[in-house]
């Protein structure tokens, strides 16, 4: 290919600026961060050349209305004329290399400077920059407009080294220039900066950031400065915290404070941690810097080892991040472990508030589970209790796998004084299942509703013989519901029958119900599926021999009356258990009621007739 065939894309700079400023950043307010970042980079560059150099940033607001102007000044390294040309060239190059490449990590200070500056066009129609390089040369002025045109000129006077950026606000952006807002935003972005940031307005000077707290470099020191750390957290994160756990990674290049949220949180809650990269706020909603389970804390994290995304509002999901995340997770876990060892009350309080989070973590991590299991709350036939108390009862811990099963059996189980835990809530049955692997010499057992019968009293054979006829009638009445009757004695005696459903029979019930409603094709599909379910799919209606009504049903079987009574007891048990009834069962219910009314009335009239 000859050189003459080579063309260059014509870049529309104003279009580029539009795209960058409107689509790259989440909100116009980031212009302040970008300016602070530029200032920080400039100061860092100068400190590298002159060790011990003391940097500072001054922000000044002047004028009102359309004249409202913000000036951001740093005493950093400044730009030479050549630097300015270079940064402009970098902006132009973004079309060639893509915005991503340009903004990725270790681009030169100048390059980042240029792009960061573009964000100012979201709030201002003109950017004026005055700069004096610490390396000497004349002071320079650069004026840029959002259409991509700019002018550069040498100033007659010599400024002191550093850079000043002037922005005049657009009407839309006026609120970003209000003193109170600017002060908060400066703190927000720059709270951790290692040099003073001041705001000048109406002749008053505010120092935005206090001295850098010493625990910033060594989070372990935070423990001994509780009040200070909590106050800092409240100012920065806007919540009154009562507890925190310091975080560090092995490299020491990432650290932080995990503030324990003072209220319970939904499992799906957005995890929003505030992260500072090289001491500048990069994100207030970093979701991926801590493990999923860490939703009971809100963290303040500072790092200098992660790579920001193009918008500098998140981090790239790469191996480094993975490593940092798992180390931070370990630190958090360790903090909890320490509490378990020496400050159980503190841990108890935390678990009470964030039980779900702790359970989520315990499911994933057996060692952690072993450490904290005693304080995890469960619902049981002995009430809402901590697992430790339940274990101390020294009995087998039975658990159900659903709320439903628990509801089916808890009356009977508690009347039998069996210790049953409701495993229906999230993580609970998993935790029960894995408990024996975690804590030795413990026995847990999944309880299926039909197993409650274990604690029923058997009826002696001789007595059972007596009920033979009644049972036969009952079985044949229940046959069509794929249910069988059994006579047992159980507490409480005012409970006439107990209906239990195994997993299989529950599935079968659901299959039939759906089949009644579905299309022909799907009904036949469900039909073939039900053939695969074993014949164990029978449910059981236990007749309580201790109940007076049942006694009467059993001892005086009546070909007419008994089947209907049994059917009614069956549908009644279904209703009590909140089972949806199929058409057949509904019909039984309707007919049964009518018949009983009829009988009752007839008995009445008969008696009247006798009188």
């Amino acid at each position: 290919m000859t050189a003459s065939n080579e063309y260059r894309f014509q870049v529309n700079l104003s279009g580029m600026i539009q795209i960058l400023s409107n689509h790259l950043y989440s909100s116009p307010k980031v212009f302040l961060r970008e300016l602070m970042q530029n200032a920080t980079d400039a100061i860092t560059a100068r400190t590298e050349a002159e060790p011990g150099y003391q940097g500072e940033v001054r922000v000044e607001l002047t004028g009102t209305g359309e004249q409202l102007t913000m000036m951001v000044e740093d005493n950093g390294i400044g730009l030479t004329e050549a630097d300015i040309h270079e940064f402009l060239a970098m902006i132009g190059q973004s079309s060639k290399r893509g915005q991503q490449a340009l903004l990725d990590g270790e681009t030169s200070f100048i390059g980042r400077f240029g792009i960061g500056l573009l964000s100012c066009f979201m709030v201002s129609h003109e950017i004026v920059m005055l700069t004096q390089s610490a390396k000497g040369g004349p002071s320079m002025e650069w004026r840029g407009k959002p259409d991509g045109t700019y002018t550069i000129r040498q100033l007659d006077t010599q400024l002191s080294p550093g850079t000043k950026v002037y922005l005049r606000c657009t009407p839309d952006a006026a609120h970003y220039f209000e003193a109170d807002y600017v002060k908060e935003a400066l703190f927000y972005y720059g709270a951790l900066l290692p040099y003073p940031v001041t705001l000048h307005h109406d002749g008053v000077q505010h120092v935005v950031n206090n001295e850098t707290p010493i625990w910033l470099m060594d989070p372990a020191l935070a423990r001994s400065r509780r009040a200070e750390v909590l106050a800092f957290g409240e100012r920065l994160l806007g919540e009154k915290f009562q507890d925190f756990i310091p975080l560090t990674t092995a490299s020491g290049r990432t650290g932080g404070i995990a503030f324990v949220l003072p209220h319970a949180v939904n499992l799906n809650a957005k995890r929003s941690h505030r992260v500072y990269l090289k001491r500048m706020l990069i994100s207030e909603k970093a979701e991926n810097i801590l493990p999923e389970w860490a939703f009971f804390v809100k963290c303040l994290i500072w790092t200098d080892e992660l790579q920001p995304t193009a918008s500098r509002e998140h981090f790239y999901e790469n191996e480094k991040l993975e490593e940092v995340r798992s180390e931070l997770g370990d630190a958090l876990r360790k903090g909890l472990a320490n509490m378990a060892e020496s400050q159980t009350e503190r841990l108890q309080k935390l678990i009470r508030l964030h039980a779900l989070s702790m359970k989520a973590l315990a499911v994933q991590d057996q060692a952690f589970y072993a450490m904290i299991h005693r304080w995890l709350p469960f619902e049981s036939t002995r009430g809402h209790r901590e697992l430790g108390e339940l274990i101390d009862e020294g009995e087998t811990l039975y658990f159900t796998s659903s709320v439903d099963e628990y509801r089916q059996i808890h009356h009977v189980a508690s009347a039998q004084s069996m210790l049953v835990i409701n495993g229906g809530y999230i993580y609970d049955s998993e935790l029960m299942m894995t408990l024996p692997m975690t804590v030795h010499n413990l026995h847990t057992e999944r309880l299926e509703p039909d197993q409650v019968s274990m604690s029923f009293t058997d009826v002696p054979p001789a007595e059972r013989n007596q009920y033979y006829d009644a049972l036969r009638l009952a079985d044949s009445a229940l046959q069509r519901f794929r249910c069988r009757a059994e006579v047992k004695g159980f507490k409480p005696s005012d409970l006439p029958v107990l209906f239990t459903l195994s997993q299989e029979s529950s599935t079968l019930r659901a299959l039939e119900k759906a089949s009644e409603e579905s299309t022909e094709l799907f009904s036949s599909l469900l039909g073939s599926l039900s053939s695969g379910i074993s014949s164990a799919g029978y449910s059981t209606l236990y007749l309580n021999v201790n109940n007076p009504i049942i006694q009467r049903v059993l001892t005086s079987p009546d070909d007419q009356m008994t089947p209907i009574a049994i059917e009614m007891l069956y549908v009644n048990a279904l209703m009590m258990g909140h089972y949806a009834m199929n058409r057949q069962e509904l019909e039984v219910l309707n007919q049964g009621i009518v018949r009983f009314i009829d009988w009752g009335l007839r008995g009445n009239t008969d008696r009247k007739g006798d009188a």
């Binding site: 939904n266 499992l267 799906n268 993975e322 499911v363 994933q364 619902e379 796998s401 659903s402 709320v403 439903d404 509801r407 409701n422 229906g424 809530y425 999230i426 993580y427 609970d428 049955s429 998993e430 029960m432 299942m433 894995t434 408990l435 024996p436 692997m437 847990t444 057992e445 999944r446 599935t507 659901a510 299959l511 119900k513 759906a514 089949s515 409603e517 579905s518 299309t519 094709l521 799907f522 009904s523 036949s524 599909l525 469900l526 073939s528 599926l529 053939s531 695969g532 909140h578 089972y579 949806a580």
Partner: protein
Amino acid sequence: MKTEMDFEELMDEAYGLPNGPAKLGMLEEAARVADVNGMEEEAYEARSEIVETATFCGYPMKALIAFSWQLGKFDQQPEEYDEETLMWSYKWILGKLSSFPEVSRDKMMELLEDFGQRFKSFGYSERSYWYYRFRISMDLGELEEAGSSYAKFRTMDRDFMSDCEACEQDEMMRYFILTGDDEKVLEMAKPILKGRMSCAEIPHLTLSEILMPLYRLGRTAEADKHQQKGYRLIKGQNDFVRSFAEQMDYLARTNPAKGIDVLEESLVFAMDNEDPFAKMLFYGRTAPLLRRWADESPEYRLRLPASFPYEGDPGDLRKLADYFAEYARAAADKYDQRNGNRHVSSLLG
């Protein structure tokens, strides 16, 4: 105690939970409350959620049951309900159908046609029909048929009812796993491994699927990396029983100690899974892993979940291996019988 919650409360609580048995339990309870009180629209809503939740946490039977109910209601009153959501669910149902050996090949084809008809009647692209035909043929071990559906669906336009690109790519890759073309598998996996395609389940599934192809090509260093990353993505989630099986298949050969970790951490999910195919694969991969581990660490006592229905001594790994192998073999036989070939048992090796 929360036994008497009303429909809205139950649904609210369910929406607050991540996918899993607990959420499913809440939703089923909500559907029951709606049924008992004759609240048809609510019952439909709850079932929509059941279908989605159950599909993605190992309860395909529950999904199928709830979907059947929904479809019946929909056909009675199509103007009452949103067809897009329902038809999207239909794809999930088709995707799991072959896992049930009781469902005959003919029945599957009938359902596929019903699905195709419905998609056509709503004006959706036929791509979904051919794509699912491709998938079902793969499941049945009819690779020639799968090949021609593969050629066909790729030429058709995607639309908003098509599966996402990442999922399609993963299924295409699976085709080459079945035809035994390992090089091609890796070529197909490339855009996924490079992160150019992803979704809620991809690369999760892919990272485990490519382990054996890489192993066969001798590229174990790469495979190890994918294994670690893949396991991190799926660990502790009951939706990935097949992936756990694939992980164990690889680890049994390269790092049985780690394989045992995977086994102990995921057996609970496999045991409780309603997808008999995933369970079969898991049990099938467990057996050789246990035998391999018995050679290396004969004293080891496997930690079995409390409710695991094995009567023997968990310290006898070989016996335990037999138990798993037998289970898998019996299950595979059922599939072979249904499919009329030896495809499924050949997967167990």
